[in-house]
């Protein structure tokens, strides 16, 4: 790793203002950026640490049927938050299988979302729940649905001097949700496929469905055809097969060291069905 300068501003807006050139990168938990620097993929001259910014950006709050999660909240803070467990238990469940306790203790929600590695576990879950992300820049900011943040592998719509400030997640309420993480090597490997399913259902009758997959595609991807196959249907094996077929044909699945594209499409059929069953069985 090449030497770098470290600055530690006291406000998030000030931090955004310091990200003037491509030579400067933000540093939150550092779990991804440090690895990329060690590999020589990133060679920043300066890192802007976000550790000393306003406390409120590390807080988790619940109000008005929403969870508001500061970008600098650690993943373990999210994992252990009683507010999260109440409002969106699927998030707490997902976190228990995310990386390992050492990573969760330092990695932050904002970094996790902004890194845009499609193998990350929270983006499909949060997108399926309808999360919105607030972004700050030196002058103001903007808010957009989380799904619109991602444009490609490690690519987002974030401008050079924009930082994720907060993510807002509608509480699950009557919706039920599950996230299925499918690894093909060690248990702690990056997933070959992640499937998040959020359903509004009466018994086996699905009133509304959200299906978002990750890892097997370049960006977290909402599967509209699979959702349509589920929406309004009374779930049985035939419905699950139709939804699986729809998912396998609409998703732009890519092959890599975790498995070929053909195999991952089969995994998608199976995991989607299992995720839907897990949600319905939970009711």
């Amino acid at each position: 790793m090449t030497p770098f300068e470290l600055v530690e501003p006291h406000t998030l807006r000030e931090a955004a203002g310091l990200l003037a050139s491509a030579e400067v990168r933000p540093l939150a938990g550092g779990t991804a950026v440090m690895l990329m620097m060690k590999m020589g993929v990133l060679r920043p001259a300066r890192l802007v640490s976000l550790r000393a910014v306003e406390k409120r950006y590390s807080e988790i709050a619940a109000a008005g049927g929403e969870l508001r999660i500061g970008a600098l909240a650690t993943l373990s803070a999210l994992e252990r938050s009683p507010l999260v467990a109440r409002a969106a238990p699927v998030i707490a469940q997902t976190l228990r299988m995310l990386a390992n306790v050492r990573v969760r203790n330092v990695a932050t929600v904002g970094g996790h979302l902004a890194h845009a590695d499609p193998h990350m576990d929270l983006p499909p879950v949060l997108i399926a729940l309808g999360a919105r992300v607030s972004i700050i820049d030196p002058a103001g900011g903007r808010t957009l649905p989380l799904g619109e943040l991602y444009t490609g592998y490690l690519e987002t719509t974030l401008g050079r001097n924009e930082l994720v400030a907060e993510v807002t997640v509608p509480a699950q309420g009557s919706r039920r949700a599950a996230y299925l993480k499918c690894t093909t090597r060690s248990a702690d490997d990056w997933p070959a496929l992640g499937v998040a399913v959020v359903l509004e259902a009466d018994g086996a009758l699905v009133r509304d469905a959200r299906v978002v997959i990750s890892a097997a595609t370049d960006t977290p991807t909402r599967l509209a055809a699979a959702e349509n196959a589920l929406r309004g249907a009374r779930v049985d094996e035939a419905v699950l097969r139709r939804a699986g077929d729809a998912a396998a044909s609409e998703a732009a699945v890519i092959g890599d060291q975790h498995g070929s594209a053909a195999y991952k499409r089969e995994l998608l059929r199976v995991c989607l069905a299992r995720a839907v069953r897990a949600v319905l069985d939970e009711q």
Partner: protein, 765 residues
């Protein structure tokens, strides 16, 4: 005898056979144990290696000017600079084929070509990226079977090293990729095949994998006046001294090699790795030089052989194997390292632990343009057992015989000659098989699962000859207060050898193990040891330590008698006080051990004595297969081994379980991926090793055994747990879902594709 005032005769400690906590445990937990990575020397330079990006090519031009211009860079060293100090800079335990830095040619992607030296390691790293090398690409060969006939030749000329007696027959060759061919002929395999009721033939493959010690390779050298001191994470300090002295043309006593603790070795940190390089750099700059590899660079240093294995058996309708033929091709990568020994030693036992009259074995060590392969916890045996124990199960199924019963009918018993002609002794093969069957409750009905979760079980059994002939020397130094130092060059890399050696010395001397300090390898201080490898230390060094301790004890008893004291009952300190008139002096005992050995015949591979002892390891696996995803969950793993009489049962158990977990990773998912000879998953993010959540319910058992030639009946254990894991799991998968996998690793996709093929609906690529 004992220290303090205790009675010499009655205070027998009975140390051997007890699960004494490791001597270094507290220091390791407290972070105080010494490792080379922590070593800082005054004025030390850090080296960063520049590596070849291509697999095979001629070096046309090396431009280091931009690297040299980086602020803080002390010097940039190339292969040509090395030759100013070492005219012929080739090293290796089998062939002198590997240059300290590449010159004229590169033979694998990742081969060291130049080194940047700087006081600041970051400056060295920055500058190394600015080195510009022009190559003329040459045709490359990557597959071991293709290498037999490939027009791409990795080495134009081969020069045997002649260092080890078991490799003295290696030939100098030209224009071939065959580094060594081992042949074994016993009986008449051809005739037996024509008489057999059934003949079975299968071909298996194993993948290239990595040791992944959590402490990557690291070495440092300090120049002296006509001398050099090397601090290194090495398992073979004595070999490093001999080989560096040879390269420099110096006497051995000018080269000092010191080794503290190692953070894992597994066969990687043997022979010369970074030691010759740091020595040359230190001599060129007259400054201490250290090179510490990153985790990623380990993928370019030493690996385990991929192999192709063809195996054929002739069987009677009663289920007796009458003939076996094996052809094995070992992918040795660009430099032989110890690959020829892997080829030969594994050749000895290629027919498996079975009593087969007619055997034919051909085993080839091949050069290819991949990172070099060498020893990895089992010296080729896990690859062989994968093939012959999969093959054995497939035959049993074809014959509709129970796999345990089929093995029972063919098992190699003590007193019977093995394929080399060596008669088996103290090898509890049958006992291991029976204990495995008992632990697996093989005769009881087995719950086979339902729906998409199908359960199956399998067993496998393998064995290994020890390396031979090799020497260990030990010194026991009794101090005047009755405490003791043990000098031995066995390297404790986490296997617990310090504790085991101290237990053996304590047992002989009748003193508590805490009264003994184990002096770590320092070739100026500790005597010769061939190396810490091949599960040889407990047997070889254990015998040397026992002899050294007996020598010291005999001298102590003689001193007591000379002083007119009752030899058996006088405290040690009292003997010293009487002999030297005060608390003074030493009693030094020495011990040396080399077992008998008869080389194998070059044409037939026959020898009456190929090994001082045999290691036997069996594994039983229960698995659950997800038929919709192909994912295999190992729900129970039973490892049964013959380790003789354990010196320290708890450490023996952790050796068995650790070895099995390591092989579990090689079985289920570990694989080095290549693109044009370039490793594409050289990191722990993309090369996954088992974590805690991958470890199945595991049981480990050392059968009641005794090795008559070993110290207090003990023999080696470090590799035994690896032998049989892979075929046991593959056999269990076939038992569960009826598909047979012929290549490792047994990934979910491989299982799923086999299931689809079986249904007549193969999955497209």
């Amino acid at each position: 005898m004992t220290i303090g005032g205790e009675d010499l005769k009655t205070a027998q400690t009975g140390t051997v056979g007890r699960s004494i906590p490791r001597l270094e445990a507290a220091a390791k937990v407290a972070g105080r144990a010494e490792y080379v990575h922590n070593l800082q020397l005054p004025g030390m330079l850090h080296g960063k290696i520049f590596r070849s990006p291509i697999a095979h090519g001629r070096i046309k031009r090396v431009d280091v000017s931009a690297a040299r211009a980086v602020a803080g860079v002390h010097r940039v060293v190339t292969g040509e600079d090395v030759r100013a100090i070492v005219a012929d800079p080739h090293y290796g335990p089998a062939f002198h084929d590997q240059p300290i830095l590449a010159f004229e040619k590169v033979r694998y992607a990742g081969e060291p070509v130049a080194v940047v030296l700087a006081s600041d390691p970051h400056a060295a790293e920055e500058a190394a990226q600015l080195i510009d090398v022009q190559y003329e690409a040459l045709p490359a060969v990557f597959d071991e079977v293709e290498a037999m006939t490939s027009k791409a030749v990795v080495h134009e000329v081969l020069r045997p090293a002649g260092a080890f007696p078991d490799l003295r027959h290696l030939q100098g060759r030209k224009n071939t990729n065959v580094a060594l061919d081992f042949h074994l002929r016993r009986g008449d395999a051809g005739g037996a095949f024509s008489r057999a009721d059934r003949v079975f033939e299968h071909t298996f493959h194993t993948q290239q994998v990595l040791h992944v010690p959590l402490e990557p390779f690291v070495s440092a050298a300090e120049p002296g006046e006509g001398s050099v001191t090397i601090h290194t994470a090495s398992k073979s300090p004595s070999f490093v001294r001999v080989e560096v002295a040879r390269l420099l043309g110096w006497p051995e006593n000018r080269v000092r090699v010191k080794v503290p603790y190692l953070g894992g070795g597994f066969g990687a940190k043997l022979y010369i790795k970074l030691e010759a390089l740091v020595t040359v750099l230190a001599l060129l700059t007259r400054r201490p030089v250290k090179i510490a590899l990153t985790m990623e660079e380990q993928f370019y240093t030493l690996t385990r052989h991929a192999a192709s294995l063809r195996i054929k058996s002739g069987v009677t309708k009663e289920g007796r194997i009458t003939a076996r033929e094996c052809e094995v091709w070992w992918n040795g990568g660009a430099y032989a390292d110890i690959g020829p020994r892997v080829t030969q030693k594994s050749g000895f036992t290629a027919p498996g632990p079975y009593d087969i009259e007619n055997v034919s074995i051909d085993s080839y060590a091949l050069y290819t343009n991949l990172p070099p392969a060498g020893a990895l916890r089992g010296f080729g045996i896990p690859q062989l057992v994968w093939a012959y124990e999969s093959h054995t199960d497939m035959i049993a199924r074809e014959l509709a015989m129970d796999p345990v019963e089929f093995r029972r009918r063919n098992i190699l018993r003590d007193g019977r000659p093995q394929a080399t002609g060596t008669v088996m002794k103290d090898a509890a093969i049958e006992k291991v098989l029976e204990r495995l069957a008992a632990r697996m409750e093989w005769k009881k009905p087995f719950e086979r699962g339902s729906g998409t979760r199908r359960r199956g079980r399998g067993i496998a059994i393998g064995f290994k000859a020890s390396i031979s002939p090799t020497t260990s020397v030990a010194i026991v130094n009794l101090y005047a207060d009755g405490s003791c130092a043990l000098y031995c060059s066995t390297v404790d890399m986490g296997q617990g050898s310090d504790t085991a050696m101290a237990q053996i010395a304590a047992e002989v001397l009748g003193i508590p193990v805490e009264a003994i300090t184990v002096v770590h390898p320092d070739t100026d201080v500790t005597p010769y040891d061939m190396a810490t490898l091949g599960s040889r230390s407990t047997y070889h060094m254990g015998n040397a330590v026992r002899r050294a301790a007996e020598d010291a004890r005999d001298k102590l008893l003689a001193a007591a008698r000379e002083a007119g004291l009752p030899a058996e009952t006088t405290p040690i300190a009292e003997v010293f006080r009487r002999k030297y008139g005060m608390q003074a002096g030493n009693i030094v005992g020495t011990g040396s051990f080399i077992p008998a050995y008869t080389p194998t015949d070059h044409d037939t591979g026959q020898s009456p004595n190929v090994t001082p002892f045999w290691m036997v390891g069996g594994t039983g696996a229960e698995v659950e297969v997800d038929t919709e995803t192909g994912r295999v969950r190992v729900t129970r793993l039973v490892n049964v081994a013959d380790v003789g009489k354990p010196v320290n049962p708890r450490i023996v158990e952790t050796q068995l379980s650790g070895a099995a977990v390591m092989q579990l990773g090689f079985t289920l998912f570990e694989k080095m991926q290549f693109d044009g000879g370039q490793v594409t998953n050289a990191s722990l993010a993309e090369y996954k090793i088992p974590g805690m959540r991958d470890i199945p319910v595991m049981e480990n058992e050392a059968v009641d055994g005794a090795e008559r030639g070993g110290p207090f009946g003990a023999k080696g254990v470090g590799e035994t747990g690896t032998f049989s894991v892979s075929p046991a799991i593959a056999n269990a998968i076939e038992d569960a879902v009826g598909v047979r996998l012929m290549s490792l690793p047994l990934t979910p996709e491989a299982v799923y594709r086999a299931l689809r093929a079986k249904q007549g609906k193969p999955l497209d690529d």
